[in-house]
Amino acid sequence: MEAIIKLDQVGLSFERDGQRTDVLQDFSLQVPAGRFVAIIGPSGVGKSTLLRVIAGLLPPTAGQVTINARRDRDRLPVALVFQDARLLPWRKVASNVGFGLEHAQFKAAERRERVEAALTLVGLSGYSARYPHELSGGQRQRVALARALAVDPDILLMDEPFAALDAITRESLQGELARIHAATGKTVLFVTHSIDEAVYLADEVVAITGKPGRLAVRVAIAAERPRNRNSAEIADLAGRLRVELLDAPSA
């Protein structure tokens, strides 16, 4: 099967005051459709930059990015969830979730339907008329997830979406995301700092190291789903992943 995301020797550098900084170099990665890939690595190795390149927000300065998502009129190929929910504070929840559907091809009735479906999927169906400042951090992040799901993307790019949440909220959202991934079959690229989060959620963990960021190691997480984060199997996989990441080149 052809990969839905294909990065071929992608490089990204920018110049400031005549000084060239390489953020990513020679980065190649293929992601098959439906796979949940966790991207892990220290701060500043270009993980967020990588997501922005895949989302088409930043053009790569070297190499090639190929996205084989469906280009139907009733969806966007890729959607992003940011670490801070980044809701538009002047819009109510429903209008934030419908934001990506405000293109001409989406009719108002369909937009309402999809907003309602996305809110139900993240467990916030009664919250349409709230403003973002009336929500908790976890609820805001659910709205951000619903906003991404509403455009029915083939690829969901998530940039440390749960990092700013408290431990309990984070675990409950991880569970929701695992359920949503199983239900929708979307391809997910999930940037995280947490090995436990990566092992609980992902089919595969990709570690990035160094400056400029390079792919250091890929580890498959072959545990059955749904997963139990307290099981010996998951704990064992997390332990083995820790060892692999420590042994990775220039980690």
């Binding site: 989302a55 927000l57 966007l76 959607a79 992003l80 940011f82 801070d84 980044r86 538009l88 504070p89 002047w90 819009r91 109510k92 934001f99 990506g100 405000e102 293109h103 403003y131 400042h133 906003r147 455009v151």
Partner: protein
């Protein structure tokens, strides 16, 4: 280049160009409020969170006009409206000042009363001006808080 000139310093030219009538007053008000509104709006637009603009781009709104309507204007609205409120006060001052210089209106009548040493009538005109300004300002604040009802 024209910015440092106080609005009221345009009065002689306004009278020269437009005569002593409402057009001159409108000209003075326009000059008085333009720079206040302009700089408030400019500052508010510059201060818009880049991250929110990136949200617009991430959801496919990449044309400048789309970013303007979807994110920049609503995000800058509080600053723009605060500037407009200041401008409203400035405009009121300009109205009274131009009337004192001869444009027909409350200010002109107040000056006539003052020339007749009728200080009780002067006080009534002053109170009327204050009350009218209070009315305008209250109305504006009501509009402002309705537009910004999304703020906590």
């Amino acid at each position: 280049m024209l910015r440092p000139i106080p609005g009221l310093a345009w009065v002689p030219f306004a009278i020269l160009w437009f005569g002593i009538d409402a057009t001159a007053a409108i000209f003075i008000i326009g000059i008085g409020v333009f720079w206040i509104s302009y700089f408030a709006a400019h500052g508010a637009v510059r201060a818009v969170d880049r991250d929110l603009i990136e949200v617009a781009e991430a959801f496919g709104f990449r044309r400048p006009d789309q970013k303007l309507v979807k994110v920049i204007l609503p995000a800058a609205a509080p600053g723009i409206l605060a500037g407009l409120r200041t401008a409203l006060g400035q405009a009121w001052m300009a109205v009274v000042a131009s009337e004192i210089f001869g444009v027909p209106g409350l200010g002109q009548r107040m000056m006539q009363a003052a020339n007749l040493l009728a200080s009780d009538i002067v006080v009534i005109y002053m109170a009327t001006m204050a009350a009218l300004y209070g009315l305008f300002d209250t109305g504006f604040v009501a509009l402002q808080s309705w537009l910004l009802r999304w703020k906590r």
